[in-house]
């Protein structure tokens, strides 16, 4: 459950898979694999892009995870926050990603690898508030 050589190896391998998927989106389709933008398009909450293409990508995310799990390649343990945290966090993540033009995939992976100034700033900003939020919740004893 905690950090270990196995978790690092899984992280690195999974990361390469994510990076290759994003690279294929760019080189084959000429598009950024930004999950928040594609999700908004798939949900009909954006005017840009192709809804069919976005829906195909978004539908495939859980399908790919299910395949990885079937193959026994994915760690199974996971613990989730309780309902109020999920609702509040989800609202912030959805609104913030749209206002900020991206999330961990679009800014964090695709933009940072391009050395985009906007993405470097956005990634630093959400890592900072992410760390501050976790520290504040710890200090307030507001665990899940």
């Amino acid at each position: 459950m905690g950090p270990s050589l196995s978790s690092f190896a899984h992280g690195l391998a999974g990361g390469v898979m994510i990076g290759c998927a994003a690279a294929a989106m760019l080189l084959l389709l000429g598009r950024i694999a930004g999950v928040s933008g594609l999700a908004a398009q798939a949900f009909g909450l954006s005017d840009r892009g192709s809804q069919l293409l976005a829906a195909a990508f978004i539908f495939a995310l859980p399908a790919g995870a299910a395949l990885a799990k079937l193959a026994g390649a994915a760690p199974v343990e996971a613990s989730f926050p309780s309902l109020p945290y999920l609702v509040v966090g989800g609202l912030f993540v959805g609104f913030g990603a749209r206002l900020g033009s991206g999330c961990t995939s679009g800014h964090g992976v695709c933009g940072v690898s391009r050395l985009s100034k906007r993405s470097l700033v956005a990634t630093a900003a959400f890592m900072a508030t992410g760390m501050l939020t976790v520290a504040a919740m710890r200090a307030a004893g507001a665990g899940w």
Partner: protein, 145 residues
């Protein structure tokens, strides 16, 4: 269009499988990375490292290409100005990320692994996106990056 959708489907499968393999579908592990003052878990840094390597190469290849291999043109972000929406949006995003340990990719991916909490989070996330669309219906929509 069908071909493009099938390619997107294949990319999504690899992306979702990668997220599951990486362990980032476990919110506790993401919180561990953000918890620098507590039980710090650097696993997320390995995921980023692994993802940035092929993607950096892809940007270099892209610079030598006239057009993508299976589409008419590249549709990538062109904005370079640091503006308030970018920064405020990212700051708010980080708060939600810190509260839950979930961001859009792992949340959607978890619809297959932990359907109940994932569905709650994804519904709230879609509501947040809808709220943004209501408040800024004519926003100059910068491409995703």
């Amino acid at each position: 269009m069908i071909r493009a959708a099938l390619i997107a489907l294949a990319c999504g499968l690899l992306f979702g499988a990668g997220l599951a393999v990486s362990g980032m579908t476990n919110p506790a592990r993401v919180i561990g990375f953000l918890d620098i003052a507590g039980a710090f878990d650097p696993t997320l840094a390995f995921v980023m490292l692994g993802a940035l390597a092929p993607m950096s190469l892809a940007w270099r290849l892209k610079a030598r290409m006239e057009r993508p291999l299976a589409a008419q043109k590249f549709t990538v972000p062109t904005a370079t100005v640091l503006d308030a929406p970018l920064v405020i949006g990212a700051l708010l995003f980080g708060v939600g990320w810190g509260v839950t340990g979930l961001c859009p990719g792992p949340a959607l991916t978890n619809l297959a692994l932990s359907p109940l909490p994932a569905a709650v989070f994804v519904s709230a996330m879609a509501s947040g996106m809808a709220l943004y669309r209501m408040l800024r219906p004519n926003a100059p929509s910068t491409p995703q990056e």
